[in-house]
Subunit: 444 residues, 2 copies
């Protein structure tokens, strides 16, 4: 069969990784796909820069129009990233009848609906496995592998930078700032790591994967996002004493009142599979009503892991080239028009257990005052960990683990506790996520 012609937008890390994987595994890919996949055109802003890939046989240009308007290109691979000009280019490529493969999580999270509708009308495919968790085929697993399930929960470590930072704090007793500097030195974090550290990157990915899991529209604006910047290394260590770990988790959960969508630092049991996902690795746990918990683990970023997903998408597109568009796997797993309008739960209505760390005066009656506040709001205490006594009247740390409580009530409790004379103004609060078995801290 005649080769499939690909046009590449972007020759950065992932673009070059994609070229290298396509070249190195050309034989395996042809044996799988039944035909060759050939990159004919590529676009980069600066054509003079050295590239970490062999560009021979590829027509280079600094004008994306040369790819999206070329009638000889079957599939456009968009690796520019960011919203512009990727947004307009993808829409034009679709308009010109081209299939699209993209790694652009921000674009899919923000404009996916518009893009998929355009693709649907034109009868072309838009594939985006590389947008979520790099080399882990998680979109495929959720959309196709678990398609018989009602999915009840997703819990993911889907940002390598924040996971690396937490691993460094725990294993090497580093401060947050030192761990972040190390991540930047090793090339894991961007020079401006804000999107990683403030949780935006994880929220983009959660938006996409939750839509495919629950059959709900993409709705980045409804994700509750807390970053890692305020993380105190003491809490990482105290969590260890409770046989727990703190991970920066992305959670989507089906509840009676609606879907929870949230990204925040979270306590989980130390012996769970997710707790053992270290460094820059990613993992997503999916609870299906039939399959039970399944977990998908691997590298969430990097040139070749991301290229692995791009190439798998290319092969999927090639296999479906001649298929009837009506019968293809729907972009968001569920048929367009069959999306659910179940609401996203307000964060105030979310119920979780809590880890609280207070700084309290080392004097009698303090614990009684705090437990009275919690009791008044019907918040039950599961464990108390009193840290070292100073003896000199200085504030000492007090760690409390609560039973599950509605966020709104916890907000009220924290306000009241902060108003106590014997408690410092700063109260650290970290949500707890149970992972199959007892919750974290139950054995403390």
């Amino acid at each position: 069969m005649k080769p499939v012609s690909v046009g590449l937008l972007g020759l950065g890390t992932v673009g070059c990784g994609t070229l290298n994987v396509l070249a190195r595994n050309a034989d395996e890919i042809r044996r799988r796909a039944g035909r060759s996949i050939e990159v004919r055109r590529a676009v980069a802003r600066d054509l003079k820069r050295r590239r970490a890939a062999d560009l021979s046989g590829i027509a280079l240009s600094d004008n994306p129009d040369d790819v999206v308007n070329d009638a000889g290109i079957d599939v456009v691979v968009e690796l520019f990233g960011g919203l512009d000009p990727a947004h307009g280019l993808i829409l034009r490529a679709i308009d010109n009848g081209k299939h699209v493969v993209t790694a652009n999580k921000a674009l899919i999270a923000d404009y996916g609906q518009e893009i998929f509708e355009a693709a649907q009308r034109r009868g072309v495919m838009v594939a985006f496995e590389a947008a979520v968790a790099g080399g882990i085929p998680i979109v495929k697993a959720v959309r196709e592998g678990l398609s018989g399930n009602r999915i009840d929960r997703l819990v993911g470590i889907i940002n390598g930078t924040t996971n690396f930072i937490l691993t460094q704090i725990r294993d090497k007793q580093r401060s947050f700032a030192d761990a972040l500097a190390e991540a930047q030195l090793l090339g894991y974090a961007e020079a401006d790591p804000a999107f990683d550290v403030n949780g935006i990157d994880a929220a983009h990915k959660l938006t996409i994967i939750a839509a495919t899991a629950f059959g709900i529209p993409l709705q980045f604006g409804n994700v509750h996002i807390e970053g890692l910047a305020d993380m105190d290394s003491r809490d990482v260590l105290y969590a260890g004493e409770l046989d727990c770990r703190i991970k920066h988790l992305a959670i989507a959960k089906r509840t009676r009142g609606g879907i929870e969508l949230r990204v925040h630092p979270t306590l989980i049991r130390g012996d769970s599979m997710l707790a053992n996902v270290e460094g820059v690795m990613n993992a997503v746990m999916v609870d299906g009503d039939a399959a039970g918990p399944t977990l998908y683990y691997g590298a969430g970023a990097g040139a070749e892991p991301t290229a692995s997903a791009v190439v798998a998408d290319l092969i999927d597109v090639v296999r479906a080239l001649t298929s009837d568009p009506e019968n293809r796997v729907p972009h968001l797993a569920f048929q367009p028009g069959a999306l659910s309008d179940v609401p996203v739960l307000d964060i105030g209505d979310v119920v979780t257990a809590y880890y609280l760390r207070l700084q309290v005066k080392d004097e009698p009656g303090v614990l009684a005052a705090i437990t009275r506040v919690l009791g008044d709001l019907n918040i039950s205490i599961e464990a108390v960990m009193q840290k070292e006594t100073s003896g000199d009247g200085k504030p000492v740390p007090l760690v409390l683990m609560t039973y599950p409580v509605r966020e709104r009530d916890m907000n009220e409790a924290v306000d009241r506790i902060r108003a106590l004379d014997s408690v410092d103004d700063k109260v650290v609060r970290i949500r707890v996520e149970p992972l199959h078995g007892e919750a974290c801290g139950e054995r403390a």
Copy 2:
């Protein structure tokens, strides 16, 4: 669109699980697949038995012909298990132009080639996700999710019974016999657990998944299989002292000389993801040249996890019903005719590090004699662990960890060591598998 008609062969645990999942999630499934999936006929040997599923609306029969010969049935789901009559029935269903979904690992491992060729000729699909690792969509991950990779290694815990036994031995200090009895009591092991314990079940699954990973023919006969029956609980405990775990692993590995296919008890690092797969859970680690290591974890058996895979296959088949057969995902991942003839390596040529446990006389010169034998065969020792000294002249255990050595040389070494006067005849040997990072025992 008109519903798809399914005929079910078998109303046992998985058959009823499949009916329950299809009924409970009918709405989600229709929203995903774009049409309903309806079981119209079902076949069971004993029609009078009570079933754990609602059979209303399903035409029941004790004659499989009623399913495979019914022109109104689009897809046959084969859940009889075993080679006969499943083998003949599947071939007849294919002949009659029906698509097939099966959970039958023995059948696919033994007769897959013949079945896939028949399906190819007739232009129908045979889907078998449920044959490997139950609810984990591992066939899809390897065949489609990682299709851009040259896969270099698979390491799997793909038999829940043996993993449960090893977990019990380790966590509860049970004997092998007690742990097996517990597995039978809990319904994890068959009344005749031979296929689980002797490694045949894992070898069937390895045969299938290795074929899809490496593009080699199905070749169950070439798998080197060692069961768990000789496992001594002492070795499970000693492994723990070396920061390792013993797992019953299925391993497929690409080496220069050929593909390794082997199932045997194996030492792995205690802090690896696979080491933390406990109880009846399954997991498969896949090393791709682009994606790096990825891991897939979940329930490997049980009514609904297996049904999850059956239903996902049904939805895949429904989606591809109108597709051009030439462009479908190939049964074994690679196009028929593009399979590789790379040989399977003889177990004698396999190179691994080894854990050795000897019973030796508690007297001077014993260790020297053993190390001389190993040195003569160029086998290097990485660690020695001398267990308690009896003081009364009785034999004491001696544990050695070697560097990687060719199996053939280890066989010779063990023969020579057993011939030493000061060493008991029984020598325990367990292979070591390194998992990303230092090998097991390096820190001992």
